[in-house]
Symmetry: C2
Subunit: 205 residues, 2 copies
Amino acid sequence: MGVSERKAKEKEELKSRILQAAKKLFVEKGIDQTTIRNIANEIEYSVGTVYVYYKDKNDILHDLHSQGFKQLGGEMKVLFNVADPMERLKALGKTYLSFALENPDMYDLMFTLKGPMDFLESMHQEEWNEGKGTFDVLRSTVNQCMETGHFSGHQLEPLSFAIWSTVHGMASLHNSQRVKGVNFEDPNTILMKAYEEFVKIIDRE
Amino acid sequence: MGVSERKAKEKEELKSRILQAAKKLFVEKGIDQTTIRNIANEIEYSVGTVYVYYKDKNDILHDLHSQGFKQLGGEMKVLFNVADPMERLKALGKTYLSFALENPDMYDLMFTLKGPMDFLESMHQEEWNEGKGTFDVLRSTVNQCMETGHFSGHQLEPLSFAIWSTVHGMASLHNSQRVKGVNFEDPNTILMKAYEEFVKIIDRE
DNA sequence: AAATAAAATGAACACTGTTCATTTTATCAA
DNA sequence: TTGATAAAATGAACAGTGTTCATTTTATTT
C-alpha cells in the first residue's frame, strides 16, 4: 500500500516541522517565552494540530533534548580517532564544554530542565538512554586511561562522575548567569581558563 | 515617634511572613507549582497584599535566594576554625554539597534558576553580592592553600572556579534528576563517592 | 457520488502573574 | 468624639498560559 506509507511519511514530516519550529523559537526568544500557540503559528497550523503530534509541551522538550544528544554524540564520535585515551578524555571535555557554550538552550534542555525528565516519568520510562549512552563514552574512556596506568587508586564509576560534574558545573554556572556575577572577565574566557586548570590536574594523574 | 517605628516593624514582619509562606510552599510542592494565590492564601491575605510587599514573583525568589546564602554562609563560617587551609578547602566542599542535597529547592534558587538574577537585572543592580561573597571564601581558602605550597603552577582565579564547578556540577546533576538516570545506585551514595575521588585528587596537589 | 476514515480546527476551560480603582482600617487634629 | 487624612488591604479584571475535544474540513475508499 503506497498511500499509508506516504501518509506516515507526511506525518513524520509535519512532526519534524513542529520540532524545528520549536527549536527556532527556543533559540530566538527562550524556552519559557515560547508558547504552543507560537509554535503553531510558526508552521501555520492551529494549536490543536500540535497536540495531534505531541502529547504535551514536555513531549516536545524531550524530543528536542534527544535531538541535542544526537548532535553531541556526533561531535564526540569524531574523537574516537584519538588513540591515546588521556588525550581523548581531554578532548571530550573540551568538546562537551564547547557544545554547552554554543548551544545553551539545548544544553539546558539536556542537562538541567525538568521537562524532558518529567516526560519520561509520565511515559513510565524509567531509563534515560540518552544520558546513559553519553556517560558510557566518558566511562569507557576513563577506563582505558586507568588501563594505561592513569588514575591509579581511583574507582572508575565515581571518578567518571566527578569528571562529568566538573565540566557540567562549568557549563551550568555559565548557563545560569552565575559566572558573570562573580567575575567580570569575559565569562567564556574564565571558563576556558578554568578548563585548563582542570587539564593541568588530570595531566598529573 | 513610636507609631511609625511600630508600623515599620509590622511591615517588616508581614513581609517576612510572606517569605516564609513562600518557602514552605516551595519545599512542599515545588517552586513552579506555587502560585502567588497559594502564598496569599497561606498567610490569609489577598493576592494584592503580596504585591504591596513584593514587586513581583522574582522579587520573592530573590529574597529567598538571599536567605539561602545567609544559611550557607553560616554553615561555612563554622569551618574558619579549621586551621589547615587544605583541610578547610575539603570541608568547605563537603558542607557545600551537603547543603545542596539537604536543601535542593533553595540550592536551585541560589545557583540555577533565572528568577533571582532577572530580578537583579530589573533593579539595574549588576552586582551579585551573595555569589561574590561566597566565592570569596573559596578563593581566599584556595589562595592560602597555594601560599602553603599546594596547587603550584596553577592560577588562583580559574582554579577556584574549577573547584566550584566540580561541587556545583555534582549538586546540579543530582538536583536535575540526571544522576539517577545514569547510575542505579542511591544518588546520594554515588555523589559522596564522587566527592571522595575529587578529594583524592586535590590531596595530591 | 456516497460513505467512511483521517486530519485539522479553534472555542472553551482552568489556570497563571499582575494591576489598580475601590474599600477598609488606622492615625491624627480640632 | 468627630471628621479629615493617610496607610493598608482588597479582589475583580486583564492578558496571557497549557490543554481538551466536539465540530468541521479534507482525503480516501467503496
